[in-house]
Symmetry: C2
Subunit: 404 residues, 2 copies
Amino acid sequence: MSSIEDKFAKLNAEFAPGQEVRQSIDEVSIEIDKIPGTSVDFSHGDIDAHAPIPGSIEVFNEGFEVGGAQAYTEYRGSLEIREYLAEKLTNFTGWQIKADDQLLITPGTQGALFLAMGALVSRGDKVAIVEPDYFANRKLVHFFDGELVPVKLDYYNTDTRAGLNLEELEAAFKNGVKTFLFSNPNNPTGVIYSRDEVKKIAELAAQYNVSVIVDELYSRQLFDERDYTHLIAQDEINSDNVITIIGPSKTESLSGYRLGVAFGSPKIIERMEQLQAIVSLRASGYNQRVLKLWFDEPEGWIENRIKDHQAIRDDLVSLINTQDGFKVRPTEAGSYLFPEFPKLKVSLSEFVKILRVKAGVTVTPGSEFGPGFENSFRVNFSQDHQASVDAMKRIIQVVEELRQ
Amino acid sequence: MSSIEDKFAKLNAEFAPGQEVRQSIDEVSIEIDKIPGTSVDFSHGDIDAHAPIPGSIEVFNEGFEVGGAQAYTEYRGSLEIREYLAEKLTNFTGWQIKADDQLLITPGTQGALFLAMGALVSRGDKVAIVEPDYFANRKLVHFFDGELVPVKLDYYNTDTRAGLNLEELEAAFKNGVKTFLFSNPNNPTGVIYSRDEVKKIAELAAQYNVSVIVDELYSRQLFDERDYTHLIAQDEINSDNVITIIGPSKTESLSGYRLGVAFGSPKIIERMEQLQAIVSLRASGYNQRVLKLWFDEPEGWIENRIKDHQAIRDDLVSLINTQDGFKVRPTEAGSYLFPEFPKLKVSLSEFVKILRVKAGVTVTPGSEFGPGFENSFRVNFSQDHQASVDAMKRIIQVVEELRQ
């Protein structure tokens, strides 16, 4: 196999969320009757059930009326909008952001992640990645020819911290890791790194001179009034080695506009812009305008969104916990649950195809998030409340029919 | 210098079109009085002077109303819109396109180019690039660690063909080139490859099994009723080795939506989608909807756009041709002119900074398009007609003051 064929073999996107329509389903011949019910696609949030920030389309239209000046921004994004975001994100994180050289607007948070990894990782570089974590993280390491160094998240053995194996992390750093990438809250489990964990990560990164990319995509959607600690704002860390990634696609349901933001080290931001110049030029100019609504939502809007999602979480967790052989750690932030289910007569990939074809339920298989998660699946429960509960009941019914 | 620092040194975007605002201008101390006049930014087209296809904002709003189904398309883009585009682009090119596996929607044509190069080029691969050609082409080869093999375009020595040095191209192919990337019409000169040139490229690519990426971004805007030959539709070539790139950002002024399309080889399209999954997920969902207007413009709209631009071209070319020491080949398609100017007392980078600061005119220096173009600059003349003529007069005035 040539090196490029090998590279793309590792990028297989067949099971990536949203791509299920491209799966071949010939092999789903298991004798299960169709289970009726409203189809639910748990692979991503339902923005029809949880609508975008009010006024987004009006603000987009304003941007179109502005014309050329809004269409052709600097590659790093409109200065006016970067200034707005710098102020809002300084308030949010407690770290002083300069609009000129510490912040970049990207086509979605995925875009920010790609640029940050491209700015830091080259052939042979060791990159520490948490397992489980966002499925694209590992693919990015492969794409940039880095060497993946996994660090375990023991998310079941604690409820006061995320459960990162800090000894493993230090050993990885000691062993030459140059970049550490992780999501907080963790995707797929929805657990939050404790203040102590974040401070220890900061300390180790400073000690071993490791660059850190932290994906804080869901950090506004905190349940049970939990605390959240922003890595970049900690005294222990050298902020010149940190990039934070965030965007309005999840809690705020602005995913259709493809908007993301990266902030932190001026040196890394500069490289990310150079890379953006050949990857996509800029986030769509008119779309950038919509960022003016972010962190300025109507009074109570975010609080209600969190309350609605916490209620869905509660119902799903209760339902899962009544089932023999199931196990789940309740989401602390964001809209993901990552339940473990009992051993089945079919493989994980067969199971998710059966769920989709026979029960009208799409989930993301655990194998997307790292090795060793063959008995887990991820759901994004930002769905219609009743439909998501009914869909979880259908999942449980299929598991009962297929269990060993 | 580490390998990643070296890589980013080659990606320097300071002189890239649209990035002039980030240039340091301290060194512009030449004694030239400011020349008054309406500022013109020739680095890209002016969509306020040449408006987007009518109805684009209404169609975008329809997309927003559709909601989740429009926001979350497959990574390769909405099937309905791919089917629409496949039909239109089949009619346009004469090559039968299947919507299912031969076409991908991307965030801008830049996005398509990045994905196509990422799908084909890996470390050490030889890539043939025309000089002069679009500035990002060479940067992409560096980014993917390819080896750049330049092929000369002798655009001044002919007016019946673009002037590609076909002997050089064959020698490059014979010498192990795996991928050939070129724009037709050529950027920055605006010349069209003749039928014979395109057929010879097709023949050589087939003979030496070279993959070809052809950027046809400006191929709808043909002047003087010229012919245009689509590479992928030629019998001589194996279409499994070809990707064609096109988009509505130029002639159609839809740049603010960031939309592009790639079509051709199913194998390469598949890889491009796998890569898009980690680069940006998809072109913004609502924005994709706007593609429904493309190739379905109101009667006479495209014809008028071409007529208006041909008239601007004529005035600029006449003006340039009256000047001693200037030389230009008239644009055959698209909105670029690439004039050569006489030797100056200042460097090219000083010259373009002086033009911007003292004459309110932004141009792109020839050095962005390859080595050996130190006495050329590119203008995109999709501007207000009178303002562009006045701005060209100011350029000529500055050259007169600075010439050796």
